[in-house]
């Protein structure tokens, strides 16, 4: 379901556009501009280079090239690409932080530790 061709009506917040407020949807979204409000999508979120999201994000999957201040939760995967800057907590089964990305915050994936090590750290 991460396929970008899922929905032909390609949703885009353009470069010089600002959205303040909640954004809810069931399709893919590309942010080139600025969103200051929670994003909840059952689709893929692409924050393009230069795009800014200052809010919490809950999506199926996310590719971040731009700037995010807020928590990002994804049902499938989060990828932080080189040049991106993310301050916040990440939660997803699969999280990739590429070399050259800047990230500060918590990361929460399912860590499958062998028995015996699980209690080694009470987290």
């Amino acid at each position: 379901m991460v396929a970008p061709a899922m929905n032909p009506s390609h949703c885009l917040i353009g470069l010089r556009m600002t959205v303040r407020g909640a954004l809810v949807g069931e399709e893919d979204l590309v942010v080139e501009g600025r969103v200051e409000g929670n994003i909840t999508l059952s689709g893929h979120l692409l924050i393009a280079e230069g795009g800014v999201v200052e809010s919490d994000v809950e999506v199926e999957s996310a590719d971040i090239h731009g700037h995010v201040i807020g928590d990002v939760a994804a049902a499938v995967a989060i990828t932080i690409h080189p040049g991106a800057s993310v301050h916040g907590n990440l939660r997803a089964p699969r999280i990739v932080i590429e070399d050259g990305a800047h990230f500060k915050g918590g990361v929460d994936m399912d860590v499958d530790l062998p028995e015996g090590l699980q209690r080694a750290r009470g987290r």
């Binding site: 949703c11 556009m17 959205v19 407020g21 954004l23 893919d28």
Partner: protein, 106 residues
């Protein structure tokens, strides 16, 4: 042309501002403030006050429209609210309820 597209399943509750074009296939509630054109596509729903240069409506708008250049209500469109614009076009088949002020273009 239109750089920003709000897809058909997207709901935005808040404010959209910018200086480029906007096409709404989905739902926007709140306020839209643009220096450019806005097109409310067929199926699109805007429950917001709209301020833009050109406003073109194929879908539904509940709210006041202030178009500094032109307001264009196409057939099939439904608009409930006041329109203020130097040029107002209401096509045959459009549903409109509200007042029109073509005063000085505001």
């Amino acid at each position: 042309m239109a750089n920003t597209v709000i897809g058909s399943t997207i709901v935005i509750d808040g404010e959209i501002s910018g200086d480029e074009g906007l096409v709404v296939h989905g739902t926007v509630k709140g306020k839209i403030d643009l220096a450019e054109k806005i097109e409310v596509a067929q199926g699109g729903v805007v429950e917001a006050t709209i301020a833009a240069r050109v406003v073109t409506v194929h879908g539904v708008v509940a709210g006041d429209i202030h178009a500094s250049e032109r307001a264009d209500l196409r057939p099939e469109s439904q608009v409930i609210g006041d329109i203020r614009s130097p040029r107002v076009l209401i096509a045959d088949g459009a549903i409109f309820k509200g007042s029109v002020d073509m005063g000085n273009g505001g």
